[in-house]
Symmetry: C2
Subunit: 270 residues, 2 copies
């Protein structure tokens, strides 16, 4: 069993220093930004900066989802956001869910140059993730059991060995963990699966989405999501759009929502 | 069985008009562009424009892989490239391999606003692809059996029903094909799987990568890749970097490579 690598060690330090396992999802949907920011240059960056100011104290990491930045201004906003989060000493996990064949995956892995960790999709197999996995200083969270209803379509399929596909993916990811840099994405909407997977791969930290807008199980997320105290429980819209109707006070509302989630999670931590 | 939708009808027209099933992969890796283009504003766009000028006559579609455009200049280059390809009357398939939960997938689906079709990853299930699938005028190529060695890690796993996972994915994609807008990505590196899948889903056009740099089976790609004459056989590096050592004559070399592949494929078409 490899020790945690540089990324997970840094994450552990952050978790300990700020007493929080909250991942704040920066899903800066342009259509939902406050009116008064939309006129600015790079509205998503203006929004994220204020959200980070209000939430960083409660954040173990920031998790921008790449989907919300896939245009020229978006990539500039993302770059500014990452630098600003780092300025507040908070690691950044890019939720990209990428994978591709060799030379293309190598290109995707350049996304890791600026951030600290990434999410990746296992359907194309190990070599499609190798350029992520070989970055021994970064983190790679492999999709395992996702929190959406359709997650069952493939992930729950029973293999001839009797186990569901997602368990095999967990076992594979465990073998891919040469550097102590691998984690899993496991949704909070299926608590019994969280428990089962924690037993299967005791050393892998989980990123647990689905406790906010998706209504997942907070206690299970904490009890089974952490490996040796390290792991992340994410809320995106539940934090950043908590003040959607609060006008210029949107950021304060986001800060309160982040604090509330931190406290709620900490009640179940040891 | 739904009729081909607007995208596949357009693709069929293009295939018939230019007598070609070649997909030209625009993997404009900045590190491999000709020296004399690297000083230009938006080198990737400068490169793609010349490649399109030289190859469009032989192209049934262009397939830029999103990995090579994931930065601010990249997205601008991609937008120019798409518009230019459309100006030559060639459809554009964005090789993005995306999928995500509800509101995020909806954001990814905006990538389809400018292009004609997209590739998508099935691991997260139907609802993660719904925003692509519901675009009845566009095309969605679902990853099924990919051409990389690691493709076997998950895709070849035997289900309790006895079939490998990729066959189930093909069957699922067939049920997702409400609008005649769904195709599959099936690598040319496994000809017997191409044959098997063609039997399983006779109506779905395949996008067959892996005949160029990856050395797949050209005859099988044509024989089993097409559904009622419609489908695509892709080469990326084998075309666009055919003139990597040709200096300013790189585009002419790409044109010759595209013509060669078209002729090679047409020898096996009816």
């Amino acid at each position: 069993m490899p020790e945690f690598n540089a990324f997970f060690s840094r994450l552990r330090d952050r978790i300990d220093a700020n007493d929080t396992v909250v991942s704040v999802g920066l899903d800066a949907d342009v259509d939902r930004l406050p009116e008064h920011l939309r006129e600015k240059d790079l509205p998503r960056w203006a929004f994220n900066r204020r959200i980070i100011d209000a939430t960083h104290e409660y954040a173990a990491c920031y998790k921008p989802n790449a989907a919300f930045y896939e245009d020229a201004d978006g990539w500039r906003s993302l770059r500014e956001t990452v630098a600003y989060a780092h300025g507040k000493d908070v690691p950044v996990l890019l939720d990209a869910k990428r994978a591709d064949i060799g030379n293309t995956a190598r290109k995707y892995a350049e996304l890791l140059d600026d951030v600290d960790a990434i999410t990746a999709n296992p359907y194309m197999g190990r070599d499609s993730l190798e350029p992520f996995l070989s970055r021994s200083d970064k983190g790679v969270f492999v999709l395992c059991r996702t929190s959406n209803p359709g997650g069952a379509d493939l992930q729950d399929l029973e293999l001839s060995s009797g186990e569901p596909l997602y368990r095999r993916v967990a076992a594979l990811a465990d073998t891919w963990n040469q550097y102590g840099n691998v984690g899993l994405v496991v949704g909070a909407t299926a608590p019994e699966e969280l428990e089962e997977l924690r037993g299967e791969v005791p050393e892998l930290p989980f990123l647990v989405p689905g406790v906010g807008a998706q209504g997942g199980d907070v206690e299970a997320a904490v009890e089974y999501g952490l490996a040796d105290g390290v792991g992340l429980v994410n809320s995106s819209r539940g934090i950043i759009f908590a003040g959607e109707d609060a006008g210029e006070r949107f950021a304060a509302a986001a800060g309160q929502a982040a604090k509330r989630l931190r406290d709620q999670l900490n009640r179940h931590r040891d």
